[in-house]
Symmetry: C2
Amino acid sequence: MAVTGSVDERLTAEDAAFIRDLGNQLRVDGIRASTKAGSGHPTSSMSASDLLAVLITRHLHYDWQNPRLDNNDHLIFSKGHASPLVYALFKACGAIDDAELMTYRMHGSRLQGHPTPILPWVDVATGSLGQGMPIAVGVALAGRAVDRLPFHVWALCGDSEMAEGSIWEGLDKASHYGLSNFTAIVDVNRLGQRGPTELEWNLAAYQGRVEAFGCRALVIDGHDIEQIDDALGRARAERERPTVVLARTIKGKGFSEIEDKDGWHGKALPPDMAERAIAELGGIRDLRVDTPRPQAGDSAVCRGGAGVTISLPAYSKDDKVATRKAYGDALVAMGARADVVVLDGEVSNSTHADEFKKAYPDRFFEMFIAEQQLVAATVGMSVRHLVPFASTFAAFFSRAYDFVRMAGVSGANIRLSGSHAGCEIGADGPSQMALEDLASMRAIHTSTVLYPSDPVSTAKLVARMAETDGIVYLRTTRGAYPTLYDNDESFEVGGSKVLRRGDADTVTLIGAGVTLHTCLDAADRLGAEGIRCRVIDLYSVKPVDTATLREAVRDTGGNFVIVEDHYPQGGLAAAVLEALAGDENRPRLTHLAVRELPGSGTTAELMAAAGIDADAIVAAVRATSAAGER
Amino acid sequence: MAVTGSVDERLTAEDAAFIRDLGNQLRVDGIRASTKAGSGHPTSSMSASDLLAVLITRHLHYDWQNPRLDNNDHLIFSKGHASPLVYALFKACGAIDDAELMTYRMHGSRLQGHPTPILPWVDVATGSLGQGMPIAVGVALAGRAVDRLPFHVWALCGDSEMAEGSIWEGLDKASHYGLSNFTAIVDVNRLGQRGPTELEWNLAAYQGRVEAFGCRALVIDGHDIEQIDDALGRARAERERPTVVLARTIKGKGFSEIEDKDGWHGKALPPDMAERAIAELGGIRDLRVDTPRPQAGDSAVCRGGAGVTISLPAYSKDDKVATRKAYGDALVAMGARADVVVLDGEVSNSTHADEFKKAYPDRFFEMFIAEQQLVAATVGMSVRHLVPFASTFAAFFSRAYDFVRMAGVSGANIRLSGSHAGCEIGADGPSQMALEDLASMRAIHTSTVLYPSDPVSTAKLVARMAETDGIVYLRTTRGAYPTLYDNDESFEVGGSKVLRRGDADTVTLIGAGVTLHTCLDAADRLGAEGIRCRVIDLYSVKPVDTATLREAVRDTGGNFVIVEDHYPQGGLAAAVLEALAGDENRPRLTHLAVRELPGSGTTAELMAAAGIDADAIVAAVRATSAAGER
């Protein structure tokens, strides 16, 4: 038994009856799966079951056998804890079978506690509230402004997550970009984890907020099939604004013992209760849904991606060019790839992403001062298989750290460029200085962390970023420093460069970014005193070039000086120590890092105060050498 | 020449003339300071100068000679880049002199590029947009609900930062808690850093949003002294709701060459332009403001703080108690201190902060699912010299990482408890697992990082948290494990415990939290095979107990196995390696950590899969021992 439909057809009484049944099947299956697992969120699934039953039967245009079709709609479960519903829905659509459904939350099952993209029908991992919806906005932006495809993007939200600021960043950008191809469905079931939500069933309050943020609000009874159908149909037909369907629902709907009762969040029903619930819901069914098909026709998006020849900018050894500027130059070169898109958080004249904007205005997206949405939209672009680069001050990516974390869980492919790293920035003071970004970004699953020192290496690494999967973070520097490399030098993820090397080297200086320059200065001065230093440009902080480090341990007696414009924890030194920690021969480290809170001042003053300038390195090496001679 | 005033007195023409002059003095002084410094944001200061001139002359109740008076109003510059205005204002109020003003942005000066609390009149560091205002909401909440004092809290916001979701989290909580003692003044100057803001001068759009979020909106011309005075007077007199003054202003106001012109954000005027600007603004003045005094009377807040006797909960060695539960138990004990307040992000039944809520409902604050506001309010409580504890899942503090970073810059004293750390949580899956928190929190300036393994150590460390300045982070575990310690055992920040020790120890096992238990299991099994293990509970991850680690290096030949429920980067192992990196004798490490993305499963399954369970430790030690014997 199946019903197909679309926005053009009127909902018949027969359709409505089927959908009501389907809603209860989704409830029953969610209960069965979670009770079997012994955990999960059945009640949060039951409130949204009717909404989703209508959606998948009549409004979601999706080919479950071809989840990568470009014309498929996108359905993102921002309330990821409603995973019993997600998987019950996948079963109803024929994507998984009942046996797999019953593996919910088991080790090795694809059906994890919260949805992740190991399932081909899941775009992004959710479960950290307030993220799925802003990411869905990014998918809709890609669909509207880059792909120019007719797909619609649906996000199912919980009411608790409407308290997250990121939700409002998302709606703001959805309306700013006129994303009428985006619909959020908010399951207003009144109850959060530990009690009532802030606004409970004050639908008027939600409506006022949504409308004030420039979206159309449709307030409905989320268990009235006709109202749901009407709202979703209007949402898909909308051509001006994004739509937010505000659905008044009942948590635990359909099982009278727990309907609208506090204390049932995130709890599987015990088997006896599950049995009574299933009976009350009409027993186990096996309805199959024939979801409306996506628009036919040539849906292959031809972007001209990896095969395109890129002409990276070239620099002269006489040039002093800030790495942030080289980032902008390289972005323009990368723009030859039609799949490269760039996003920025209202600082593009500082990050130099504005160079790309000038060259490719149609593929540049201004996210204004909203870093969570900046990263969310970037993840959304990656869902559409674009190659997105996002930039802001390195310090301000910390605003979106949870989004970066979840992008790692999603296996998203995004590139982040953080400018103005370290105390090097000078007068603006510590609020603008990233001094913990190497630590935080290194600890992200799937991350690559790059920190170039000159324009040539920056440009080469920007090209590498496009080819590298996962979360690729580039740390750039405010000031302009000498060009160190020839334009034909190559730079690899996981590589390093040895800039000073000799048979008589007694100490290894390791820097990256601005501290590579202070290391080189120090090495030259020490060389004049007869102290021979090896100098390594550790531009790939993660992964790190273990072979070159091992060679340096061997050649210089493990005598390492690591210098970083970063707090002492978790940065460059930790990367080296962790890499060599199991070796028989391990370095003995002198570690120069920013140990006190910097203030304002010139770059030279602040680097001197932090003890990471050439003077400090010279003094540290002299002390080490003197100790070695004693 | 001085004008005093208050909300009760009508603004005379003479007052208005004085204030107009004062506004121009603030502009001139901001220009002088930034031109001298060669950097800064004079134009962003000039747009807000009239607003602040009215505020400090007639509505801010503040004793500049006694900035710690409890009845003083609070004034927080959420748009921290308007620091030329901040310092010009301090001069006009007699807090600093002109000579100090002219040290703006110089190395060693208190007048940094963005305001920081090294100045006694600054509550918190700002400069990361969208933070000062939510923190001000926390200060207002403390004033209303804890201090019960008549002070008013004023936040000056930029229009660009209204795009930050955190602003809306702040307004939402301000209205939820009915904080009529809170006023945000938004300087809508239409221009951001790189061009027009998203909403430009669409004051109606701002008004709609502000009102939808439950605040009173007053739309005014921000250069009309009478309108400003009326709005601020009404804001201070308001008794129901928070007020947001939406002031239409002109960037660069008062200097016709740059008024409302793009391209002048964050730029000091060159000396010749500064000269013309100062002339157009009527030259240099030396007006002094006699700010209205705070309400007299007994303003000493008697809280009963550090001196109170705390009876921590006791546990039996037979108890299996989750550390998150012990956190809740200990919070209740800490509640005997009237200055202890607790905040939670709608998961208090999971973090067990709900234990405190039951005991001290008046000092418990629900922040719902809004982690940025959770931390912001916690910082606000610390501004009021309370002892705030905030809790959510450890993974979700990543949502507020920029707030934690800035709290470090502010030197705020806050305590954060993150529950559900690591893959130990089991079935909920990776979105709920903190696996990067040790790395990110260790890298925060002023941070202390604690990770207890049993209820006794947890309770003792919660007591230590209250005594410890800075950002104190506690990592707690979902599951219940054996009680390891006697109730009279003491635990210090920077300490550790050696739980297995013998003269014949050949290897040191280091764990914390759940991995201490797997280390103990492994040590017992290895002991039965004749491999003697030292076992260290490294509950203080930062600072780390270097002396005990050194002793273990010496006693066990540097043979270390570190086991952590965390990604390999920047966590427990990095803490140990960094601490010993300069030593002559350094450990050789076998490092067991979570290297692949966990899925769902039981705790045992996931810890086995990650290779951090007792089996994995036993195998690792056997391999090490075998290698050592070869």
